[in-house]
């Protein structure tokens, strides 16, 4: 059965800290791994990863995929209170989502 597992489920850090969010997956016919940020209701697209070892970067956020070990990480450096959100990871094909990591940044 396809599954995506995220860890930790919840994380509280202080502003300025760096965080690493984890996503492991077992997805039949894997094509890509997607990261989303959900602040209130509508998840917003962050990254799509298809190739191993190639880092994708957007400002303070970056992500990388390891297709051999079947996991991905999302890094956020110099965190800000606006980074507080649920971060969702999804395996493609049927778009199987993990339960998300709830990140809270303390000022």
């Amino acid at each position: 059965e396809d599954k995506v597992v995220q860890s930790p489920l919840s994380l509280v850090v202080h502003e300025g800290d760096t965080v690493t969010l984890n996503c492991s997956y077992e997805v039949t016919n894997f094509r890509s791994l997607l990261w989303y940020k959900q602040e209130k209701k509508a998840p917003t697209f962050l990254f799509m990863l298809t190739s191993s070892g190639i880092e994708k970067k957007s400002g303070r956020l970056s992500s990388i995929l390891d297709k051999k070990e079947l996991f991905s990480i999302l890094n956020i450096t110099a965190t800000q209170t606006g980074d507080s959100a649920i971060y969702l990871c999804a395996g493609d094909d049927k778009i199987i989502f993990g339960k998300g990591t709830r990140l809270h940044i303390l000022p």
Partner: protein, 115 residues
């Protein structure tokens, strides 16, 4: 460009009733996806429609059904509502074939509460 719109924003129903949720995709998008986000369970894939046809279905009972109209908007129907159907229902749209390059665009969801 208007995003994915969902209605209603909130819906309160009694157990056993039927609920109808609506979704209008981004103009030009032909694929619509429905997800259920219950507390603590993450996003659960419900249904995928494209060009008016159901393309894929998640592990939900048959009382969850839907359809896609010629204008690509979509309806999700939940019959014989149960308390555990209370959740945020999210709709997403994409250009089929582009989805895996650009991800999906989500609407703001319908919060369904079953009492």
């Amino acid at each position: 460009e208007a995003g994915v719109t969902q209605s209603p924003t909130h819906l309160i129903k009694t157990r056993g009733q039927q609920a109808t949720l609506r979704c209008s995709p981004i103009s030009g998008h032909t694929s619509v996806y429905w997800y259920q986000q219950a507390l603590g369970l993450g996003l659960q894939f419900l249904l995928w429609y494209d060009e008016g046809e159901e393309r894929n279905r998640g592990n939900f009972p048959p009382r969850f059904s839907g359809r896609q109209f010629p204008n690509y908007s979509s309806e999700l129907n939940v019959n014989a509502l149960e308390l555990e159907d209370s959740a945020l229902y999210l709709c997403a749209s994409s250009l089929i074939g582009w989805a895996r390059s650009y991800g999906y665009t989500f609407g703001s969801g319908t919060r369904l509460t079953v009492v």
